[in-house]
Amino acid sequence: MRTGGCRWPLPEARGVMAAARAEAEAEAQAAVTALAVSVRDFVTGQQDGRAAEVAAGLKDGSWTVLQLVEALGFCLENTDPRVRGRGMQLLSQVLLECYSVLQEKEDWCQIGAAVQRTDSAGIAGVRCGDCVGPEVLLKWRVSVRMRVRAAEHGQQTGFRAKSPGALEEVLHLVLFYENRLQDHHLVIPSVLQGLRALSMCEVLSPGLAVSVLKAIFQEVHVQSLLQLDRHTVYSIITNFMGTREEELKGLGADFTFGFIQVMDGEKDPRNLLVAFQIVRDLIAKNYALGPFVEELFEVTSCYFPIDFTPPPNDPHGIQREDLILSLRAVLASTPQFAEFLLPLLIEKMDSDLQSAKLDALQTLTACCAIYGQKELQEFLPSLWSSLRREVFQTASEKVEAESLAALHALSACLSRSVLSSDTEDLLDSFLSSILQDCRHHLCEPDMKLVWPSAKILQAAAGASLRACHHITRSVLPLLLEQYTKHPQSSQRRTILEMLLGFLELQQKWGHVEEEESTLLSLQAPVCSVVFSALTDPSVQLQLVGIRALTVLGSLRGFLSPSDLELVVDHLIRLALCEEDSQSSEAAMEAAGSLAPIYPKVFSGRMVPRLEEELQSEQEEESSCDRCSLRQRCLQALAAVSTHTSIVRETVPVLLQHLRKVQKGSDAGSAQDIISVCQSLHRVALRCQQDAESCWYYHQAVVPCLLAMAVQAAMQESTHPPLGKALLQEEVLAAMVPVISAATTHLSPELAAQSVSHVVPLFLNGEVSFLPQNSFPCSFQPFQDGECLEAQRRLVALLMAFVCSLPRNVAIPQQEWLLRELLALSCSCNCPFTATTAAKCFAGLVNKHPAGQQLDEILQLAVNRIEPGLAEGLHRTQALTLLLWVTKALVLRYHPLSSHLTDKLLGLLSDTELGPAAADGFSLLMAESPDVLHKGCHADVRIMFRQRFFTDNVPKLVQGFHGAGPDVKANYLKGLSHVLNHLPKPVLVTELPTLLSLLLEALSCSDRVVQLSTLSCLQPLLLEAPQIMSLHVDTLVTKFLSLASSPTMAVRIAALRCANALTSLPTIVLLPYKARVIRALAKPLDDKKRLVRKEAVAARGEWFLLGSPGR
């Protein structure tokens, strides 16, 4: 009993285990049944979805490969090729999905074993198939045995250490597939898929890749397969080339030959891209081409030049350009192709098709990168004659440019080749033949071929230093001689322009060894030619001379010190005395670019001369000449300030002159001050990049300007009638950019130092830092008082300074300052001062860090604006402040901005402020020149315009529909301002919703609305012709009626739109052609020339519509 007692549970346990085993077996059985069902459904039920199920079951282990192959047995041995095909398809699809999971050795053992078992079945299947005879089978069996031996041999010789069993099993699988290549054609696509799966497998034993490829090359006629199956073959080859390069190379040229047969006759662009890539790899990875170079060239070059137009709505997205580049990479990949390719290229250059020409030229350029003398030698004469013809006779700039590029590449290629002692230098003979054909054309500066010849010579000379020497040695003396031979300035100009081209090439090679340089030996004649051009009466010749001078100056060591002085004298003369403004500007620009190379000569010779001219007070000349001479001096001073040491000379001269002219009070002196400010501004912009000169400039200029302005304002407050020029609005506006540009690029530490002086000056009247700071009374711009009006205007200068500071510079007493500005902007009667204060406030608010302080300040502003807008004397000021604060907040995406914008939208229905509010939308969207832009470190989010558009345009549209007739125009105006500033791509997508409104706006009688709507519609006509063509009837009618508007600008814009209409589809326009042409006859006789010009352009385009030769 005891034993029984203890034995009791045992049978129970056994029972449990047995039950569990039974359960597992039942489960396995169920799984196998399910697999069998799936397989049957797939094969006979044609349910493709089952393949995924089978693969998923395999991955999660519900069944094994062994079971799958067993389940497939019935169909793999079926006599119906369709059923066999279906079976292979399932196996291949599963392999494709699972090849990465199945890389374990055991799996391969299983699958191999299973396949071996079905081997006989497979053979039976093949036997029943109608394509293979018994002798083939016999061969196959023999080959299997041999290959097994070969593979074992490979293994013994140490290819890869795999268990012999696994090796043999995988082998069997591969051989099974290879064998199936002989099966019925319905089965082949699935067999290829399976092979593709195997080709991606890493565990294939050595020799198998070769055997698979051999089988494909031997058994499959690839070009009779469908596109997808051909693609599969290319993929198999690509995969093997990627992983088994060594093995494939063992095949030698047979592989290349096999591939040539595979791709011969390919037509599908998708496959061609893959095939070209394979050829490129064959060449790049040094596969043996053996005797098949020409065949490989033939099989690819037959596609050249590519003539392929992708079908409309092509889902594959292959462009002509893809094929062209891919084929070019093949053709230009090896010098071995040269002997075949170059004749082909020469032939295609002679083609009538421009695309063929361009392709040939570009391919030639690409080839020159890898060719050498040997390849090119034989073909150089014919290449040169083809290229010469293209440059001399073509009508297309593109062909000309590509021909010159090819010539450049040829010359570079010949220059690069290493010479052995006994070969002749092809570069020399090539360049000599070019010179022979082109040189004489250079002597005919009036004829058409002079420029093409010069361009050819320059293209060849630009390729290398050697080529440059060869050509300039012959051409430069010729050009110099021709210059003296031809006395007419137009001819001299052409010659000098060519000379300039060659001088620029010298520049490219930098400093040239002295003994070799032909240029240096020609120094004297070159200089005399250039100097003679500078003194010629023809402006065009002068301009070329100035450009030549710039190039000569940049060739280091070319100009002697005495020449340099002569150069500077010429530049001064041209800049100051030459009547034509073009020459004068060019001379200043040249001085600007030469000054940093020779700073001493310019600061020692040019700056004193200019200073002298500015100071001389001779009145014998007429005052107008005097005035323009002074202008020129100021411009020249700014132009030459391109080097730190020169800036230190020119800034004091400019400030000195400013002090002198500001004493006057007439309009002329205001103009003078503005000119000085403009020059100072240009100098400031040049100083910005260099920290040292930036700080020097800031310290020298900002206190000086402030001191002068403060002094003027104080005198003003003591003697009211004296209208100081310095305090005029335009003058202050001209000083703003100077101070702003002097401040934006300061480093934060230096800016902080400066701000600690300037802000107390305005808040507390601290004048101590100003030069000459003894003033008659105190400076209190923010104080109340009648006579302080002049002082208040200087807020403009404060704005220029504080609004340009970097964002991380703290402004002392900022809250106080903001309050004062707010008060000034709301209460000041002078619009200039009020607007400036509003801008300054907005500029500071935009940069103010978010937080409670900002909220308080904004609340304060809102409290000021709302009652101000409601009523009273200062409604306009309140609107201005509202606009600027809104802009400051819209730019930085501040939440309060939408509240303020709504307020602005509400004002559009105000009869008094409505028009101004509408114009305000332009202010919100446009880039402001002095404050609130990126340059002065404002917080500007990139998409603010788009955001403003999406937030507010629906409200504008809604407001328009609800508005009374007298204020409707305000909404349209506001809308057109918003649209005008929107990026065009955004506008095009938003167009359908707005178009009806825009068309309505065309009927609006307001000139500004008409104009901005027309300028909005014109780009849309060009960019979205499809949408616009729906409204062609309305558009034609409106444009034609606006073409007789009383305002010239509207007529011009309407005619431009009528011209842009011609970019709509011709078929839509033809019904209107006669009517438009008749209607446009009237503006042809418009009283304004500018209108007639647009009418002529528009009418000409309408005549061409639907007419041959357009």
């Binding site: 010239m1048 304004k1088 020339r1089």
Partner: protein
Amino acid sequence: MVGPGPGGGAPLENANPLIYRRSGERPVTAREEDDELPDIIDDREIFDLIRSINDPEHPLTLEELNVVEQVRVKVNDAESTVTVEFTPTIPHCSMATLIGLSIKVKLIRSLPERFKLDVHITPGTHVSEHAVNKQLADKERVAAALENSHLLEVVNQCLSARS
């Protein structure tokens, strides 16, 4: 009426002609921008209409080939008459009629109807000057020429803005 068309493989009659510089765009004056003041049609305005016509053979304009010059353009706005003389590049130029036709068509399309147009060859610069002038002066023959779609195509190509 006209010799073989341009392009193709045929060699050019004059492969290396003299070329001249283009005059720049006419600068816009303050007067022209004033809405009130009328601008009369002057020689330069007519010249601007025809100077950019493309030559049928060369990728050059009539101005660059000096076929048309401003001094050979006369206009009288008050009497509504325009006279244009053009100079073929060589005396036996087979394109002369075609060039004249292009100038004439351009002026017909671009000038108000009130103008009477006279387009002819500069005296003594072409071998068959009289025949060409007669053709160009004959309204019906000009109209008939424009019915010919091949001819119209060449004329339109000469008048198209160069791309």
